[in-house]
Assembly symmetry: C2
Homo-oligomer: 145 residues x 2
DNA sequence: GGGGTTGTTGCGAAAAGTTGCAATAGCAAA
DNA sequence: TTTGCTATTGCAACTTTTCGCAACAACCCC
């Protein structure tokens, strides 16, 4: 949140990009929101503070943050969600039936990362994965299929 | 391809859904296309055969196929791609730098599936995952970062 | 502080994707 | 073959996302 703000703003300039007020406002907005937010939610909040900011700018800045690995963009339950990247990357399991989402740690992917590295020399950079399936609760409710 | 056609068409009816000409045409079109196809590509091809088919129908049928696990919908390199599901599920590794995509087998995900099962009682149903990262080639070209 | 370079923004319009609703047409049953 | 039920489609309007381009403004240098 506020903690990362300075680091992130510095990062932008260190990478040779310009630190515009739009980028600062949008960054702050995502941080305030906390957790996942849609482009629409970010835009609505942003325009309340600064109505002059254009919708296209919000989309472009969100993509820009993803490019810098400062945020992630993920499809979850049919919604496209943005989230600020913290120190520890995390991922989600999402139930196909009830839609409930839970967090899972990055370590679950260690073996997968090892496989693609050994077999393909591919350096996986897993940011914000979504694992679809059926949660414990829905399995007991619906023990067929 | 043609091989699956009958099975798929039967599946639709066995599940209690209606076998409409639109669904057959769209299924054939994805099969002909082979591999990944965007909604737009499918729509363009479909309308050449049968211009009366509406764009909304194409989107709805594509979603319908995904619902039945007859197809998958995946974001890859900024494009939303549909693909017919074959006997063996497969996944992809995609290079963030050059965009090259390769196929990886389902077994790479076995440990991940085991983790979420043991820790969360979650039954993962991995269909068509995309693992982002840097391919071998781009690593040698660009050994920084 | 003023000036030049060029990355970014706002704007308008187009493209992509979604939705509600009335008309159509599968398909099962008679 | 005909009939009835209702899932599915086409249509049109709507929302969401993208794009090209001219105007703007960070940032660097003097
Ligand atoms: Mn998350
Ligand atoms: Mn594929
Ligand atoms: Zn559930
Ligand atoms: Zn590459």
């Amino acid at each position: 949140m506020t903690h990362y703000r300075l680091n992130y703003l510095n990062l932008i300039r260190e990478m040779g990009y310009r630190l515009t007020p739009q980028r600062q406002i949008i960054l702050d907005t995502i941080c305030e929101q906390g957790g996942h937010a849609t482009a629409r939610e970010v835009y609505e909040r942003v325009r309340q503070k600064t109505p002059s900011i254009n919708r296209a700018t919000v989309y472009r800045v969100l993509d820009f943050f993803c490019e810098l690995n400062l945020a992630t963009k993920t499809e979850l339950n049919g919604r496209t969600l943005y989230e600020i990247v913290g120190e520890e990357p995390h991922h989600h399991i999402v139930c196909n039936q009830c839609g409930q989402a839970a967090v899972v740690p990055d370590e679950y992917f260690n073996e997968l990362t090892a496989h693609v590295w050994q077999q393909h020399g591919f350096k996986a950079e897993l940011k914000h994965m979504v694992i679809a399936g059926v949660c414990r609760h829905c399995q007991t409710l619906n023990p067929n299929t």
